[in-house]
Subunit: 267 residues, 2 copies
């Protein structure tokens, strides 16, 4: 997949490979987060007095990171979606003229607030090794949270490419569904329960494989760093449904960026 070549990005085989590879990153990142306590201070709004800032310590750290990364043009890339789109800095690198891959409103499809909410409320309590916190680890915790959030966000917003590829592959179907604002029809067209089930099974195997020191695999009770079922549930309850939401939100607006002649042809 090469973002300067749209046809490689909108190839559903390439998208699938990229999504499978992202599972590894997400599992690695969650394993790293699982070393630390749940650390509620990191997530409590205004727990620490930070000058000119209103939010949690995680928000503050994430904003600093996004500002730094915006300077190295992270958010110019069509597969990166910032949590603080209004607070970025100009890039210090020469801009890349990405070819058009997605519709012109694509940046407005942003579910990062939902992602942060379920991550903090549902995931952190289940993956951290222990409830409570160690003051000296709050910085490390937030740093690892940022890795997790960015990896999950990239995975979910990749739904835009899935949606665009499906749209391109069957314009007659989608133009009709979109014209009729048929959300159920769109959802049915992008849902493949067998594939979803396979994702969940693969995630359990990956979490088992990456979460256990393999040199101890044949010892009694090799301890896994992470509960594989938690990873599967994270995908089932949050990542897959939110990816679908991104796809549907993207498709519902797709005719905003379509030629009138195309639309008339199919309706």
């Amino acid at each position: 997949m090469d973002f300067t070549k749209p046809e490689t990005v909108l190839d559903l085989n390439n998208i699938r490979q990229a999504l499978v590879r992202m599972e590894d990153s997400i599992v690695f990142d969650l394993i790293e987060r699982s070393q630390f306590f749940s650390s509620p201070s990191v997530y409590e709004p205004n727990k620490f007095k930070i000058p000119n800032f209103n939010g949690s310590f995680l928000d503050w750290a994430l904003l600093q990171m996004e500002r730094a990364h915006s300077q190295i043009r992270r958010y110019e890339a069509p597969d990166e979606t910032p949590f603080f789109p209004n607070d970025l800095l100009p890039t210090i690198l020469p801009s890349i003229n990405y070819p058009k891959i997605l519709a012109n409103y694509a940046d407005e499809i942003n579910v990062n607030d939902n992602i942060k909410k379920f991550y903090v409320e549902e995931i952190v309590p289940q993956i951290s090794c222990k409830e409570g916190e160690q003051q000296e680890n709050l910085g490390s915790v937030s740093t690892q949270d940022i890795e997790c959030l960015q990896a999950i966000s990239r995975r979910i917003h990749f739904g835009k490419f899935v949606a665009e590829a499906k749209y391109q592959n069957d314009k007659p179907l989608y133009i009709k569904l979109i014209k009729e604002a048929d959300v159920d029809g769109i959802e049915a067209s992008i849902t493949n329960s067998a594939v979803e089930q396979k994702i969940l099974e693969r995630l359990v195997i990956k979490a088992e494989s990456y979460g256990v020191d393999p040199s101890l695999r044949y010892s009694q009770n090799p301890q896994s760093k992470i509960n594989p079922q938690v990873i599967a549930k994270l995908y089932k309850d949050w990542i897959i449904p939110l990816t679908k939401k991104v796809e549907i939100d993207y498709l519902l607006r797709r005719l905003e960026d379509e030629d009138q002649s195309q639309i008339e042809k199919y309706v």
Copy 2:
């Protein structure tokens, strides 16, 4: 291991466990780096014109990251060693009063320049998926390089705790060796070839296990994301020798922070 309780940090069993766990992080980080091209522009001094900055793009990105992390007190922790110790910012969090664990000159033992050099010159060319670069990935490359460098740096500088623990466990031996500036004797006392061999074997197993999608393990030619021998060689040629250098450098100065009465007792 709890850095507010020195006895847990200087327990050689805990240190060993921590070092084994760090292997996982290093392997994960190198696997993530291996997705990208070698990207020489990232490492070439002044390849990009950055205002008021003299160095490579990686240097600049690493400095921004260290400045952000210093604000969340990363470098107050005795197990974190900055690459740019003279350019950090004050913390915005209340400082942690870590108890004394290491000798008072410990922060001056810093081999990060050596680490950056071997990482850029020896590791990057061997682990990146392909020679060359894609402009749109230079930011991602530097971000992942920073993860790798920080994980490797933490592993190598952990040698300070190994050295301090060994010193505490056998003061008579070390005071004598240090007084005589017996570098070979010190090196012999901290070297265990059988343990080193075991580390290398374990790393190969870990790289094989974490580098292959386990759901494809029994298919023909499941492709590994990384060459396990490269990870073993990285440890053999660089990480283990530099850890020893840290230990030796630390021990050679250890009497600077010892009571005269103790020294006289053993010499």
